[in-house]
Each structure stands twice: as structure tokens, then as C-alpha cells.
Symmetry: C2
Subunit: 208 residues, 2 copies
């Protein structure tokens, strides 16, 4: 089984690697299509059309549509976990962290709007379909932890304690971000500055 074909002595290019690579490649194509059309209107044929493969290949790498989408959201998660870790590690003052965090939120809202609306789409789907819940809840918890690292570092730099639990803070920021994203997508020019202002106003209020 698993006839490894290591070219030299190193562990290079096993068939399993190729396989996983194609799965990820298809998952990326799928994420792009899903981000463009949304879950309801995305078909496997459309995903394949937006890739360099034909529609039948999906069933070579995935058992069914659900396994593909699951693989997609896991890939998405692996990308977004570390999105704010850089500015958390680098910022030296609370004010700097807050400014950079707000800027990053605005940037990701504008430049990665499709993937964010997809996230909200899938999270809402999980309210209807049980199948999605494990992955959605895991990603939601991961995002919450990410936000948690930002705000606890912010509090430490400010030398003052947080007066709210991280889960609630995440809910507040999520509401602000979702409102901003919708405004941005419907063409509201003030969406970016509104988001920045709201985040900049909100975080200082959370300190004791």
C-alpha cells in the first residue's frame, strides 16, 4: 500500500501529497466560486468551470458536495486564524494596537469581502442544517480566540483590565463588522470610515 516514491533520500512528492494538493486546489476554486455566488447558487459544475478541471473530477477527490464544502471551510479557517497575530506581536502601545487592528479590519472587509460574506452565509446555513454545525462552531470559536488575543493584549498594553468577557466582545465586534460588510457591499462609501470609527470607539470602553 501507499507505495512511496521518494526520489532521493528525503520525503519528497509522495502520491498522497499530490492528492492533498489537488484537493486543496479544488477547495480554493470552490471558495472563490462560493464567495462570488453564495452557497445557495453554487453548483459543483460551476466550481469546476472556475477551475481548470471538468465537472467530473470533483467526485474523484471528494465523496460528495458536502465533503468538498467541509474541506473548503477548514482551509478557510487555516488561513484566517493568524490574520491579526502579527499586529498583536508587533504593537508596542495600546493606541498603536487599536489603530492597526481597526485598519486591518477595514482592509480585510474591503479586499476580502467575498470570503467574509461566504462565512456569514455558511454560519447562517448552520442555523438550518445540522451537518454544518461542527465546522462552523469550530471556526467561530477560533475567530473568537483570535479576537480574544487582540483585546487581552490591548488591555495589557493599556495596563487596565477588560470589563467584559471575550465571548461578548466577539459578538459586539462581529455585529459591527457584519453591518460594515453589508454597507460596503451595497456601495456605501462611508462603510470603511464607519467601521474604523466604531471599532476605535468601542475598544476603549471595554477597559476598566
Amino acid at each position: 500500500m501507499t507505495a512511496a516514491v521518494e526520489t532521493a533520500r528525503g520525503t519528497r512528492r509522495t502520491p498522497a501529497d499530490k492528492y492533498d494538493e489537488r484537493r486543496t486546489q479544488l477547495a480554493i476554486s470552490a471558495l472563490e466560486t462560493l464567495g462570488e455566488l453564495g452557497y445557495a447558487r453554487t453548483s459543483l459544475r460551476e466550481i469546476a468551470n472556475n477551475s481548470e478541471f471538468s465537472h467530473g473530477v470533483v467526485h474523484y477527490y471528494f465523496a460528495d458536495k458536502f465533503e468538498l464544502i467541509t474541506h473548503c471551510v477548514r482551509h478557510y479557517k487555516s488561513q484566517c486564524v493568524t490574520r491579526y497575530d502579527g499586529l498583536v506581536a508587533e504593537s508596542r502601545t495600546a493606541e498603536e494596537l487599536l489603530a492597526r487592528f481597526a485598519d486591518k479590519l477595514v482592509e480585510t472587509m474591503t479586499t476580502e469581502a467575498p470570503v467574509h460574506r461566504l462565512w456569514y452565509d455558511l454560519r447562517t446555513q448552520s442555523m438550518f442544517e445540522e451537518q454544518f454545525r461542527p465546522d462552523v462552531l469550530l471556526i467561530d470559536a477560533t475567530l473568537q480566540e483570535m479576537i480574544g488575543r487582540v483585546v487581552t493584549t490591548y488591555a495589557e498594553l493599556a495596563g487596565r483590565p477588560l470589563t467584559m468577557d471575550v465571548a461578548t466582545i466577539y459578538a459586539l465586534l462581529d455585529g459591527v463588522f457584519e453591518k460594515g460588510l453589508l454597507a460596503h457591499l451595497v456601495g456605501d462609501r462611508g462603510a470603511s470610515s464607519d467601521l474604523r470609527a466604531r471599532v476605535s470607539d468601542l475598544l476603549p470602553r471595554l477597559l476598566g
Copy 2:
């Protein structure tokens, strides 16, 4: 045209009334089905199955699927605008208003979960599909005004000014409610008490 059949002298039971009545009746059936299955999985046949009519009747009262769904969301809006007006008018102290508001949020989250997840579903659909945006934005503005009436009254009763604009407050509460709804739907027993606690904690912070 429009041969009115007023029975007595009053304006009673014109054919147009019957027509609108059926439209609303179908819209209610549609809302129930949509709340159960979500937008992506709801078909016109399924809607008709959950009503007392057959699948063809939809096209007698609505031009197409989109017109039906539009009629649905408008009916939904007309129901929810006044949801909190009672407690706004009746509450005599800020504390009473806050407690009743939090209770009402919890109650509506638990007893009307399907229609709320449908609202989040449609709002997310509007991020992808332009057709939905006018109605979604109008409902969102209506909900925001409703929340605005609650919090401004709350501030007046407390004798202290609001230190945040209504749009931002709506975003915060929406984030808290959406998180609560998801938790409730996945079976989290603490969802209700969490929502109540978060709202009870949040509103006092918004006063100067």
C-alpha cells in the same frame, strides 16, 4: 373593470380584498417553510405543500418566486416593527425598560427562532444578490429605528444621554442577538441567560 360587490353600503369584501388575502395567506405559508428550511432549500412546491393549495396556485397570485419572497419579507416587516413598542410605552423606569427589553429579546429568540434565522439568511443573501437589497435595507433600517426607540427612551428614563449613535448600538445588539440565536439553535442551554446578561450589561454602558 373591478366590479365591486359591496354587499351593503359599506366597503366590504371586494374581489381585490380576497386577492390580497390569499396572497398574504400564501406568504404566511411561505414564511413558515422558509423559516424551517432556509432560503437555499425552499422550493415553491414545498411552500404549496405546507399550505392547503397545490403548487400551481403560486403563479396565479405571484408572477414568480422572487415576487413571492418579496411579499413575504414585507409581511414579516409589518409584523416586527411594533414588537417592542408596548414595553417602551409602558415602562416607567430605566431599570424596568431594560429588564423587559432583555426578557422580550430572549422570548423572541426562543419562540420565534425560525423567523429570525430566516431574517439572517435573507440579509446574507442580499450580500450576494442585488434583487434582495432594497427590501433588506428597508427592513434593517426599520429594525434599527425600533432599537433606536428603545434605547433613546431608556436614556430619557435614566436621565442620562446616549454616548453612541443608534446605528452602532443596533450593530452591537444585533451581534449579541445573532450569537445568542446560533447558540440557542445548536442546543446551548445557557443561550437565554447569556443573551439576557449581555444585554443587561451592555445598555447601561451606553449612557453618559
